[in-house]
Symmetry: C2
């Protein structure tokens, strides 16, 4: 199926490489807006309280203050800021500004002033009389009778069970798990817990809004979802969609955190109130306590296996901490179950899950979107099962893994009867990922745990090797749709307008490569513009690993239509049938060798004969969502006296179908591994007993950076996905799922200690080692 | 054929009304560009000279100067700045900066500096050693053997006969004029001359250029032809089209003067050289001497008629003064002949024309584009013929005028064998224009000339009534093409992207009305964006009265495709066949009464089922160019002692097909009449014997303003043009053609004095009265 490509599969320089490397890319902040006001948000200092009274007169009277908004000043429109398709599956449990606060960091008021300093001073002048309410942080406590109720408003909708603080609930099963467990030779039951962590985009959330010459609200925002922003804030601000224009310039990372509408509504409301341009940016501390994070989950796993390793029954019960608002809780849960429980064939599968409100900061979308949580549990469990069966972990997995031609039934069960299910696996590189990854890490060196002690530099260091698998998806089947518009210029170049959102991922380059491949030109002949709700076609935005597969598919379709038009014009000019012509190197070339340049084609089409603009628009919706696969291998070294875990080498073998741009795909993998290393080893949002985050800076919240990284190996085990553009599947999320369990499994292999709750800090590892006392 | 319309034919407020009325529309200058440099052009003080040497070192050394360009610094690419389709019919007789100057005001050098003052000082520091050449201003002299040769470069192409200074030549004939004259009962031979006049846009030519984040050259310009600007300056600057983006914001008038590329090339070259944003604007004086004007013409007419008034033969020989460069000379000549000589049926017609270079400022495109010149001659002649035949001027015309179903043969002969000829007249309101106009002016009161003297306030005043007819076209048939892209938003609104260029004409409003009519929504549901070469489809620009007919046709086609998609979605959702559905008031309504809102249609199409972006692109090319018609009537009062002519009332009866927006159409008529009044009575560019313009300001060059205007009556004698969007033809140019001859004819009717050369200044009128001595 795979054809020889001219542009696809080549490491083309990113179309924005020069401007980013030279500091000339224009981000939200890189425009001059005369008369710009600076906004600041007053956040709740309490985890749970009613606002009895709020007095903003003194703040409003402060010279230099142009607008102060409290819940008394804005429309009360229940919505979800999740930034999803419509109607959103997430509960409508938020309003722009409420008379109740539900976590330390919740919105209380917002101010726009001439300077940030005046805005900060104005915040101090807002007097809020809080009626403090009992609060809770523990999701298990939250569900108990008599627990404080966090969302008791009657106008919230979509909340599964507000009285028990259950934001969302999911339940699906295949076969009969209890029967399966009875048939099993061995049943293992384990609990895994994952923590609150943050996306930590280098560019924080930032929005600048202003009124244009038509008094329309222009929102220039660092967002993953410009079209959702437009629709959602139109509803919140109670103005028509057509009165809003959302522009996404260059973005400094999103990772799901910029899928939610955190600033655009407030910023827009301030502009509407003050009729002035307003800038609103989160500080790094606000990024931690007021933005979004990955959902903590408690996963209770039960698995029954036969002696030969065959999984008979697999049960996963998840309790998810939503924090104070539901946003992505339901859909994240769904991904946890549908990804993790699709990896292994089992006749009996059950998934039960609740997302529960607490008075902690809000969890939301984060790269992987439930899958990192699910695979940490599943792939730790798989390692424990292999250990219990005294099987090689790879061998155990090979007995059970999903195969080409399979249609994982749990995904269908969780697909809620939507079209597109069952999802047939047509491209399948998991076995190749396993074998190439194993070869790279040197799996054959691995000994059963615990590894023999090697004292290096007089340190008691143990080395171990672990691995984990994962699968993800490529967009939401039957839900998200991409669209593109392409027109031809007189020099044979093309303008591509897409609503899809390059967050720094390289999506614009990928689009340019797809269009260039179809049209037979160099990448520099394709000018990609994204995204601007006035100019570009609709796109749901950058999430769910959909951009290459869905939006790229739209670009390919539009380019094919443009190519068709080019060949028609070429056929007339050359007087040769279109079927004997092809596009190559900026020329229409006949099999006979005659040719005409694209420039001449376009000049003729615009100026000379049967004139028309060579141009096409196309939409692309897929009922398929082919899974990319990953096999990740880690070698670690554990200091048995200090608990310090050092990752020596990390191998990611990924099947993303055909990599449109292998170097960019590798970049995605390396970036994901960097985030996964922090998840596994250092990152955790810590809150005090009043719900205040204790480590809301990069000194105390330790992320991995390039300097901290081990030897990284990335392997693209390419397959050809027949439903994807030029054989492509997704790459964005899959590499983040498996490093944490691979490292946990490697720690076990090194030490015999099973770490079931990241991050694997020295304290926790050392405590575990000591409890086991097997040094 | 005419259907009842919901939006078409209504006086909808202009979509830019509020921002223009409140001063918030953003014109070229209304953006903040940090680091902007100010450019000034060094113009030639000599009418004809070689530049022996040019020394710019001192200017370059001046602190604050960032770039100085002379002919030594820029590519020498012969081209025409005419801003036409490609390849341009106009001669390629210009380069960006030349080593020769051909008129006072020709480009010598250009400077960009921190301030306008520094730029002006730098110009003074450029030392130019000119070798003065003999020069000529008289087109008749220019053709004589031995005359100085103005364009002797070997790399000029398209010049008809450079040795005789003939820039362009046209010749066409129908039948045998000499035979027709022999068959006639009366032959009249007359010569008419029209002068240099200027478009006088309130906003002068202005361009701001800068490099964007991708180092692409962005040209923000007050232009009628953004796509031609892009193509032409790409060639001049020798960079690919894709490296240039041209943006047209709000424009303060064009009238043809902004069809030419006067500043964009120099401004762009300065930006490329300095890597800084550069602003280049003409002063009012530069507008006069360095921009463009209407071509002066000498028209020698011969006409033979039968006693009953039938025209047997009509000959027009035109000598056109091109000024120093050819630009629009050829095509303006072609319009002179094809419009004027199409008005009357005659078995024998001949047109002979030469455009001749002189060392005067350059004539170019000006509303009417040759037709005002042609109709001044023709309609003065018609009056003289009627007088000679002792016929009522209307009666004489009615014998001869073109009729519905005619295909004027001279237009075909001048159409040079292009497709689209003959041009069949399908909509025809000329007779209605005549009768309604005559009724409005009170034609029945008219007495044969000279009118009886009426002494008012002790002044010897004579009143007279005159009339004239005209016809124009609607775009260039088979040549110019429009394109539009339309997408639907979730509130049932639509974004329309068009390359067509609203110059202040109201084109954007017209597009919104066309789209709104097709889609069954209010005008405020349609957001029109024009124009931006990166974002909008190609359009040749605003010229040749093509915007409504051609580009409006494209908007209509795209809207119809969008409507089709809306009905398809509506059909699925309502489960009713599309043929039983219509779009009305923002709803899809079934004949049965069931309905669904556009918002729900769009939400479903984007989010819920078989998702796609409701969106279409369409191009529109017409091989028709239906003529609009005009009958203009003037009543004047002439002071026989001072020669002062006062227009008492001016009636314009226009057939523009269906007026999309009658109020805007009337605005076009009133504006055109205002320009025509100046043309007839006050305006003339006067040059001294060194070729220097003597009256290059509004104190000495008198234009008509609102305060100067007589009673104006505008009559829309609407017809239904079956090939136009909703029955529309063109309105932009037709009303400027006939006022001058109508006024001349009224002066004759008042005084018995025949004025054959505007402007009819008191001096000239008085001299004519005295020469005739008939007071």
């Amino acid at each position: 199926m795979k054809q020889p490509f001219n542009v696809i599969g080549q490491n083309k320089a990113r179309v924005d490489a020069v401007k980013l490397a030279t500091g000339r890319g224009t981000f939200v902040d890189d425009i001059h807006v005369p008369g710009l006001l600076h906004a600041r948000i007053l956040h709740s200092p309490h985890p749970h309280a009613f606002i009895r009274r709020i007095e903003a007169a003194a703040a409003r009277a402060l010279p230099g203050v142009h607008a102060v908004l409290t819940h008394e000043d804005v429309p009360r429109v229940p919505h979800t800021p999740a930034g999803q398709g419509f109607p959103e599956p997430s509960p409508y449990d938020a309003v722009m500004l409420d008379h109740k606060v539900r976590f330390v960091g919740d919105r209380v008021a917002v101010v726009a002033a001439d300077t940030p300093e005046i805005a900060a001073r104005a915040l101090e002048l807002i007097a809020v009389d809080y009626e403090l309410l009992p609060f809770l942080f523990d999701p298990e406590e939250a569900m108990k009778p008599g627990a404080p109720v966090i969302h008791d408003e009657t106008d919230c909708s979509g909340v599964y069970d507000p009285k028990r603080n259950i934001a969302a609930h999911l339940s699906a099963s295949i076969g009969d798990v209890e029967a399966g467990l009875r048939e099993s030779d061995l049943v293992v039951e384990r609990e895994y817990r994952v923590q609150f962590v943050q996306q930590c985009s280098m560019e924080p959330h930032i929005t600048i809004s202003y009124l244009d010459e038509d008094d329309r609200l222009v929102v220039r925002s660092s967002t993953q979802v410009p079209f959702h922003v437009r629709r959602i804030i139109a509803n919140e601000l109670q103005i028509p969609v057509r009165r809003i224009r959302v522009i996404k310039p260059r973005i400094g990372g999103g990772f799901g955190g910029k899928q939610e509408i955190l600033l655009e509504d407030l910023c827009g409301a301030l502009t509407l109130r003050s009729r002035r341009p307003v800038r609103l940016e989160y500080t790094r501390a606000e990024e931690f306590h007021a933005a979004r994070s990955r959902h903590p989950q408690i996963a209770r796993m039960r698995c029954g296996v036969k002696r030969d390793g065959r999984i008979m029954a697999l049960e996963m019960r998840v309790l998810e901490n939503a924090g104070a608002y539901g946003t992505h809780s339901l859909t994240v849960l769904s991904v946890t179950g549908s990804r993790a429980l699709s990896l292994y064939r089992a006749p009996h599968i059950r998934f039960e899950a609740n997302a529960v409100y607490t008075n902690l900061p809000v969890a939301g979308a984060f790269r992987g979107y439930g899958a990192p949580q699910g695979f940490f549990a599943l792939e730790s469990l798989a390692d424990e099962l292999a250990e219990a069966l005294e099987m090689d972990p790879i061998a155990f997995r090979k007995v059970n893994i999903v195969r080409e031609g399979d249609s994982p039934p749990i995904a269908e069960a969780l697909g809620e009867g939507r079209e597109g299910y069952p999802q047939l696996i047509r491209s399948y590189g998991l076995e190749e990922c396993i074998s190439r990854g194993a070869a790279s890490i040197g799996w054959s060196r691995r000994t059963p745990a615990p590894a023999s002690l090697s004292v290096v530099s007089e340190r008691p260091l143990r080395r171990g090797i672990g691995m984990a698998l994962a699968m993800q998806a490529s967009g939401i089947p039957g839900v998200d749709m991409g669209a593109a518009s392409i027109k031809m210029n007189e020099d044979g170049s093309f303008n591509v307008l897409v609503g899809a959102t390059d967050l720094g991922t390289g999506a614009d380059t990928m689009f340019a490569q797809i269009a260039a491949e179809v049209l037979g030109v160099e990448v520099n002949q394709v000018l990609v513009y994204s995204s601007d709700t006035d100019m570009t076609p609709f796109d749901p935005g950058a999430y769910a690993s959909s951009t290459t597969y869905i939006s790229g598919g739209a670009v390919k379709k539009a380019a094919e239509q443009v190519r068709e038009q080019i060949l028609q014009v070429g056929s007339k000019l050359l007087e040769i049938r279109p079927e004997d012509l092809r596009c190559e190197g900026g020329w229409v070339v006949a099999t006979s060798g005659e040719k005409i340049s694209f420039a001449d084609i376009c000049l003729s089409s615009l100026y000379q004969k049967d004139q028309f603009q060579i141009m096409a628009v196309a939409s692309h919706l897929s009922y398929d969502s082919p899974p990319p696969f990953a096999a990740v291998f880690a070698e670690v070294e554990v200091d048995m006296e200090t608990g310090v875990v050092r990752v020596i080498k990390l191998v990611s073998a990924i099947d993303c179908g055909v990599a449109i741009n292998p170097q960019m795909a590798e970049g995605q993998i390396e970036g994901a591994v960097t985030q996964a290393m922090g998840y596994a080893l250092t990152e955790e949002m810590v809150h005090d007993d009043g719900g205040r985050m204790l480590n809301q800076d990069f000194k105390n919240y330790r992320i991995y950076t390039a300097a901290d990284m081990p030897e990284l190996v990335t392997i693209l085990a390419e397959t050809y996905e027949p439903t994807g553009p030029f054989g492509a599947k997704a790459i964005a999320e899959i590499p983040i799922d498996a490093p944490a369990p691979a490292i946990a499994n490697a720690i076990f292999n090194a030490t015999g200690v099973r770490m079931r709750q990241p991050p694997f800090t020295p304290e926790k590892v050392l405590r575990a080692i000591r409890e086991r006392a097997t040094i």
